[in-house]
């Protein structure tokens, strides 16, 4: 059972890392994904911050369980943002 959970979690991390890389390549925007646990937003995948020169501070909920933290999210066109969130919700549902 534990092994299964671990494999599933790893696949989620792998998928989220890919999506993070895609967003960075397409929009030049950095994104990290987190698990929301009450006040805690715990790192799961994606960009690792590189210090205060480029802080990631914009917190966006993907669903009740997962979120993303980014910078300049507003620069992505609204429709594409919605598509991204839908994609993330599907990925999380499947692998999360």
């Amino acid at each position: 059972m534990e092994k299964e959970i671990s494999i599933s979690e790893n696949r989620l991390v792998e998928k989220l890392n890919r999506i993070s890389a895609f967003i960075k390549k397409k929009y030049g925007i950095r994104v990290k994904f987190v698990e929301i646990l009450g006040k805690r937003w715990s790192y799961v995948a994606g960009e690792k911050e590189d210090g205060l020169s480029s802080p990631l501070t914009e917190r966006i909920k993907i669903d009740e369980r997962f979120g993303l933290i980014t910078d300049r999210w507003e620069e992505i066109p609204k429709k594409e943002k919605n598509n991204l969130i839908s994609l993330l919700q599907r990925v999380i549902k499947k692998y999360g």
Binding site: K39, W41, K48
Partner: protein, 498 residues
């Protein structure tokens, strides 16, 4: 009052899950090899200045030391060389965390305990101790004082090991704490981070703890020396199981709690051995999970009611050796936070904070229900031990500011994904210090406006001015964004962070 009835004993028998720690052991052994530690301490007697300085350089590059290197530092005898070690320890701290000191308060929720540790006033056979478990309403009242009157933003909640304070009670108390919001002079007060000091748990229980969104999960091994551990934790108690405790943070990480904290209680066994134990513990966590301890604590034994063991131990740590302990831990695990508590008297706190301490408590009361009861004297029968420093947060902050430290109430990291490996990377690269600085300024501004006395506010504002100047000078591209947040906080907005 009897603390351990038949039902509590039955509960205690089901706590330890052997397979949850045995799978980490290799050939039936854990990662603390007592003989090997002593061997390393013996063989690294060459502490020539040249060799010691090379180790100090490695610490300055923020690398975790090898056991042989830590052993070398522990063996230094030359007083001048120790002065160099102390100075570099302070430098390492500044490089990783800057000149900020984070403050917190302990909140003791229950002192019922099924264990019988010789050095602890909570031990079950201590009939003098007055037992109490806070109701959730009492937890709320304690929090209202801490968040609404004193101004703390960060707590460490503490519980004895007992079915009355099992994981469900712990979860309920933390939820209660997080729900409190108090109006203050200019804004509002709340607890933004709850760290937990509780007995080792199973993975299933740790998952419950994870779900609530705790800050750091802290378990001290007390002593890493197997024989001493056995002696001070009587057989038949949960705590007598050395490995169940040793691997408690491995289980926490496995359960997904990715900020964990270690510590040793100095005075139970030889202090040099314990420092080596902390290092081995750190290295095992790093090797297995890529995540070292978020903090290391190094409390010294303090007097406790009806606890003669404390007077009898031959391993009491002198003030001079205490300084060495702090400096060597700082240098051995450069990235870790280091917690100094109000166990220590004010004059010791003044002396050792520059050696690398990153967190401390103030306005501390450790009697169960003591914050809202508003009694000022310590009551030994309600406490685990006696405090050495009962000064208020306002006094401590003023003194720190006079010495050039900015007090931080920052709880930003764990709320924006700087956790686990992510925070470890930033700390090891010395990149977290700027987050520390700007968040310290923002939260210190909040506290000065909401809680400070006039005198502390005056001294505190001088420090803030200097800090802002440094941000302007060294991070010009970030300065405007930061100042926008700062002005909003000054105008009464709360909880803005980077």
């Amino acid at each position: 009052m009897a603390t351990v009835g038949p039902s509590a004993l039955k509960w205690a028998r089901g706590v330890v899950k052997e397979k949850e720690y045995k799978r980490y052991m290799e050939k039936g052994r854990d990662f603390i090899n007592d003989e090997e530690i002593w061997e390393r301490l013996k063989k690294n007697k060459d502490h020539s200045p040249q060799k010691v300085r090379a180790i100090l350089d490695k610490s300055l590059s923020l690398e975790t030391l090898e056991p042989d290197e830590t052993a070398t530092l522990l063996n230094v005898e030359d007083k001048d060389l120790w002065e160099e070690i102390f100075a570099v320890a302070g430098e390492v701290k500044k490089k990783v965390y800057d000149n900020r000191i984070v403050t917190f308060a302990p909140l003791y929720c229950s002192n019922f305990c099924v264990n019988n540790c010789l050095y602890c006033a909570f031990r079950r056979e201590n009939r003098v101790e007055k037992r109490r478990r806070l109701t959730l309403e009492e937890v709320r009242k304690e929090t209202e004082v801490l968040a609404g009157k004193v101004g703390h933003k960060r707590l460490i909640v503490v519980y004895g090991e007992h079915p009355l304070s099992d994981v469900h009670y712990i979860a309920d108390t933390i939820r209660t704490i997080y729900s409190v919001k108090m109006k203050t002079k200019r804004g509002y007060g709340e607890i933004r981070r709850v760290n937990v000091n509780a007995a080792p748990m199973s993975i299933e229980e740790l998952r419950i703890l994870k779900e609530i969104g705790i800050g750091t999960y802290q378990v001290f091994q007390e002593t890493y020396h197997h024989k001493t551990y056995k002696k001070v934790h009587p057989e038949g108690t949960i705590k007598s199981n050395y490995q169940w405790r040793l691997y408690s943070l491995h289980r926490a990480l496995e359960a997904g709690i990715d900020d964990v904290a270690i510590g040793a209680l100095f005075g139970l066994y030889d202090w040099k051995f314990e420092v080596m134990g902390l290092l081995y513990h750190t290295r095992d966590l790093e090797e297995r999970f890529g995540i070292g301890p978020h903090t290391i604590s190094f409390p010294r034994l303090e007097p406790a009611v009806n606890t003669p063991f404390i007077q009898e131990t031959k391993y009491k740590v002198s003030d001079e050796d205490f300084k060495k302990i702090i400096a060597v831990i700082r240098l051995s695990v450069p990235y870790t936070g280091m917690i100094l508590t109000a166990r220590e008297p004010a004059h010791i706190r003044r002396e050792v904070i520059p050696l690398g301490v990153t967190q401390t408590d103030a306005s501390t009361k450790i009697g169960i229900g003591a914050y809202s009861d508003r009694y000022d004297e310590q009551e030994a029968e309600r406490q685990q031990f006696l405090l050495g420093d009962a000064r208020s947060l306002d006094e401590v902050i003023r003194e720190l500011a006079q010495k050039g430290y900015i007090t931080s109430f920052c709880t930003a990291g764990y709320r924006c994904g700087r956790t686990g490996k992510c925070i470890m990377n930033l700390l090891k690269q010395g990149k977290e210090r700027w987050f520390c600085k700007v968040n310290a300024i923002l939260t210190f501004r909040e506290w000065l406006d909401d809680f400070a006395s006039q005198e502390t506010k005056r001294v505190g504002e001088e420090i803030i001015e200097k800090e802002i100047e440094e941000v302007k000078r060294q991070k010009p591209s970030f300065y405007h964004k930061f100042m926008e947040y700062y002005e909003r906080v000054k105008d009464g907005e709360r909880d803005l962070y980077f």
